[in-house]
Amino acid sequence: MMSRQTVLLADNDHEYVTSIRPFLAEGGYRVIAVHTPEEAVQVLQRGNVDLALIDIRLRDDKDELDRSGLQVAHHAPDIPKIIVTNYPTYEAARAALTSQANGHAPAVDIATKHDGPEKLLLLLNHISTSIRLRALEARETYFATVRVQANVFFWLSIAAAITGFALLGFSVYLAVANNLTVDVMSVTAGLVIEAVSVLFYQQANRANQRVDEYQRERIENERVKRLLDACEEITDDEKRNDCIRAVIDANKTLFSVNSPTTNSLATGQSTP
């Protein structure tokens, strides 16, 4: 199982932070809570968070024009962010999700606080899953190199085995030709080359095992990705969320986070 992910929770509403924080922790996330745009920017710039939940009115809840949360979201474009708001509008959704001059949108999603912590956690789990799938795709090139290395080691081991065998055969021939006087040097060289061949073979084997492990993980993740894509096609919000929740819950071993559904089933408690 992978390590827990860290979520930045930026909201000036202390009560909201207090209510949502335990839920995220219970869901398997490490939470860093901040209450001002400056603190949020500092945490993002330190780069030790995987995801961020940012209130759009981070400076002043009463100010209809406050978009300080969006300004914060422009920092650290590589960290996926969800904009959270009590006052969802289509303009807010546009501002959060349309790409800017740098080609990045400030956020990957927008959610309303009215939806409650369970939906928020589902969103986080979904995004977290997508990040891991993308990370796995990014390792494709690395594992292609490992596969080449495995091939090179394998052929080196074959070449060394043949050379060692030939040297040992030559030593036997010399011994027979010279009245069973063994040429220690050529025997030793033959044995050393055979040992090197075994080492090469082991290296090739290890590299192949790593590649096989990666391939298995990739196939499994590809299957999850296809299921999540299929869920995205569902138009009904509730059914789509149920579908995403079911896919993430059914493939828990791939992800570090625990969904509230499974927690409640495991403990026999109802979700808050």
Binding site: Y90, T98, S99, G103, I110, E233, D237
Partner: protein, 122 residues
């Protein structure tokens, strides 16, 4: 710059189509189709697709269909009654923008220009 090929997905021949045709005239030419006539290969022939949400039942699905056919295409969604949820779904499906319908040619042209400046999401 080569003329941009625009496609409107919505009702064919309505008043708003004429507004859009005038708005995009400086950039290129506009064709129109109804959503039922949209073929998987159609999107590949256009650089910029405008989806009129009034005539499309499942806007995110159409956006994904267009983007599958042409990942480089910019998709702009226009609607008379915008909501944050529909905006969210459209933008997450890959639209470059989601705007309110206007009959003001200059305003529509401005929106198209703004959408042209945006990079389609990956």
């Amino acid at each position: 710059m080569a003329p941009i090929r625009f496609l409107l997905i919505g009702a064919h021949g309505n008043f708003w189509q004429r507004v859009l045709a005038q708005a995009v005239q400086p950039f290129g030419s506009l064709a129109a189709t109804e959503v039922d006539d949209l073929l998987p290969s159609t999107a590949a022939q256009y650089d910029f697709v405008v989806v009129d949400a009034a005539f499309v039942e499942n806007v995110p699905a159409v956006i994904r269909q267009v983007r599958r056919g042409n990942p480089q295409a910019r998709v702009l969604v226009i609607t008379l009654s915008p909501t944050w949820k529909r905006a969210r779904d459209a933008l997450k499906a890959g639209a470059v923008d989601y705007i309110k319908k206007s009959l003001d040619v200059a305003k529509v042209r401005e929106e198209v220009q703004s959408a042209l400046d945006k990079i389609p999401p990956p």
